[in-house]
């Protein structure tokens, strides 16, 4: 990571780290690999004994079946919109709120912060019907707004940003900037934001993936095929009584590919911001 400490010898510690990470990677990557295997096999290969472990020849057939059954690309586009807008909105709103909680003093701060934490403790499953009623009153049914606007509520994001900012943005810097006459927003923008880019990248990854894979809520408010996000559309691949797992997993696999691309992009951001930070310190 830094050029300053370069160990020369291959220590047992290094070996251990490699072995540990390799095992963890294999265990983690296995389901994705298997998803690909099944996406390229016939349905029967999945339920056979032993199940298929190597990719088969049905890659094109399975994906053609997917495209013939659902509007795959339209749904991916909807998902991209929803996930990007929510992610960007959440990054901005949560970092701003997190910054306020970490660095400002105002009356009732602690109680308000605890209030945010308490909102996380309520099991969301029952809220479905009342929330749906609100959406119908707003006339947002079949509208991506129904996902995007409530999606901006992210108690975890605020908590995360507050924790990160409180331990990584030094108070002295904030005070110094204020001495120079920076407005509060400018302190946030010029002092806090550059320091917390790793936190942004992390939250962006988590949020983007979460929104992309979420289906319970979209399922309830998106009822017209043209508004489906990808996870809702993919459920259309599941038949009442007969399951073509090859086709289902083909759709699932190709719906995961954009996620991996986004992850790799954000990962770069992650790394570049770190090198910068390291050089600075």
């Amino acid at each position: 990571m830094t050029k300053k400490n370069k160990p020369k010898k291959i220590s047992p510690a290094k070996m251990f780290v490699y072995i540990l990470l390799t095992i963890a990677s294999i265990l983690s990557i296995f389901p994705l690999y298997w998803m690909f295997v099944m996406a390229t096999n016939e349905n029967s290969a999945i339920n056979s004994v032993p199940p298929a472990f190597i990719p088969g020849a049905e890659l094109v057939t399975n994906f053609t079946n997917v495209i013939n059954t659902i509007d795959f690309f339209g749904a991916v586009w909807n998902s991209l919109i929803v996930s990007s807008v929510i992610t960007i909105g959440v990054l901005f709103l949560c970092s701003l709120a997190g910054f306020a909680f970490a660095k400002f003093n105002f009356k009732g701060k602690n109680i308000l912060f605890i209030a945010i934490l308490v909102t996380m403790m309520i099991p969301p499953q029952l809220g479905l019907i009342p929330q749906y009623i609100i959406i119908t009153k707003l006339d947002w049914l079949n509208d991506l707004k129904a996902i995007i606007v409530p999606g901006m509520i992210d108690a975890f994001g605020i908590f995360w940003m507050r924790q990160y900012i409180s331990s990584n943005v030094p108070d002295e810097l904030v005070d110094a900037a204020k001495m120079d006459g920076c407005t509060n927003f400018r302190v946030y923008w010029n002092i806090a934001v550059p320091v917390i880019i790793p936190a942004f990248a992390t939250l962006a990854i988590i949020k983007f993936m979460y929104v992309w894979n979420d289906f319970l809520w979209p399922l309830v408010v998106l009822r017209d095929q043209s508004s489906y996000t990808i996870q809702v559309a993919l459920r259309g691949l599941i038949d009442n009584y007969v399951r073509d797992n090859g086709m289902i997993l083909s759709g699932t696999f190709w719906a995961t590919v954009p996620l991996i691309i986004v992850f790799l992009l954000l990962n770069r951001l992650f790394i570049s911001s770190l090198t910068e930070g390291a050089v600075k310190s």
Partner: protein, 311 residues
């Protein structure tokens, strides 16, 4: 953009004394302003559903007809239902089995990923995060195959190597819990690793370097630098994963499906079944309220303990 900024910066300092509000007041106003979007949005989309749940806890309602006030009857039902207590103990067991190892392994993996020793970090980071990316459909199928009840199932073959008899993962008391906990562990360990990693990367390297010069061992570095610097993040993960574990829903639903088997039913699964399968929204809401208070108690205890870590 850069130009605009410098211009503005130049203009700002003189205006300081002309300020209408005191510095303190300005800070408070900004503070309220910055946190207001959450509360406004929450008031619209979050508060009403919650109040509705609390209200429903005292009603008899099947989701369709009129409601009928029944007082504390729903709470009485829930608290005297052995299945509710079973679901609560199941949830607690799975919290211990799935969440605690998850946090510990998460820290270890993050530490390894952050160490200066290794190459191909990007690859490892991507792989370890993969389970979080994988959709629930795939997870359901993969785990269904791995935790096959028969002796040819993958996990049964593995435990067979250690001389353990074939386990019926789908129907036995501990089989179900271990299978679901494994799934929870597997799905969330990468997620926590990423969070810890971001936290670790906020720790300046010179701290470690100074410690190295002073002759500190790795263990000492972890104990005196990493853990204290990471404490805010550890508190965060303990808090959120405790809540997540007590609200465990998706994984058991995937694993035991809609059979709601007793061995794997969690509190949220229990209330979900009451509401949407049995159409007993009143008792379901009562269960949600009870769970809400349990979560408050348990997370307070947790944060209290986590707060002492490394002190």
């Amino acid at each position: 953009m850069a130009q605009v900024q410098t211009q503005e910066q130049r203009q700002i300092p003189p205006s300081k004394k002309k300020s209408f509000f005191s510095e303190k007041k300005k800070e408070a106003i900004s503070g309220y302003l910055y946190i207001s979007p959450f509360f406004i949005l929450f008031a619209i989309f979050g508060l009403f559903p919650i109040l509705f749940s609390f209200y429903l806890g005292f009603q008899k309602w099947n989701g369709l007809g009129a409601m009928e006030y029944v007082g504390f009857q729903n709470f009485k039902w829930i608290l005297t239902d052995p299945l509710f207590w079973k679901s609560l103990t199941n949830t607690l067991y799975m919290w211990v089995l799935g969440t605690i190892p998850q946090l510990i392994i998460g820290i270890i993996l993050a530490y390894a990923l952050n160490s200066t020793l290794i190459k191909a970090k990007s690859f490892f980071r991507v792989s370890i995060f993969m389970p979080y990316v994988t959709s629930t459909v795939a997870v359901a199928i993969v785990f269904g195959i791995m935790f096959n009840n028969q002796d040819f199932g993958l996990v049964n073959i593995i435990v067979g190597l250690f001389g353990v008899d074939t386990i019926s993962w789908g129907t036995t008391e501990w089989g179900v819990k271990v299978a679901i906990s494994t799934m929870v562990f597997w799905r969330w360990v990468g997620y926590n690793t990423i969070i810890y990693l971001a936290g670790l990367q906020g720790i300046p390297n010179d701290l470690y370097e100074a410690a190295t010069i002073d002759g500190a061992t790795i263990r000492q570095k972890i104990q005196y630098i990493t853990i204290p610097m990471l404490r805010p993040i550890i508190i965060l993960t303990v808090f959120t994963s405790t809540i997540g574990a007590l609200q465990l829903f998706t994984e058991p639903l995937i694993f035991i499906g809609r059979t709601y088997r007793e061995e794997g039913i969690t509190v949220v699964l229990y209330l979900y079944r009451e509401a949407f399968t049995n159409l007993a929204f009143g008792p379901a809401s009562a269960a949600a309220i009870i769970l809400f208070f349990i979560i408050i108690i348990i997370s307070s205890i947790n944060v209290f303990i986590a707060n002492r870590i490394g002190r």
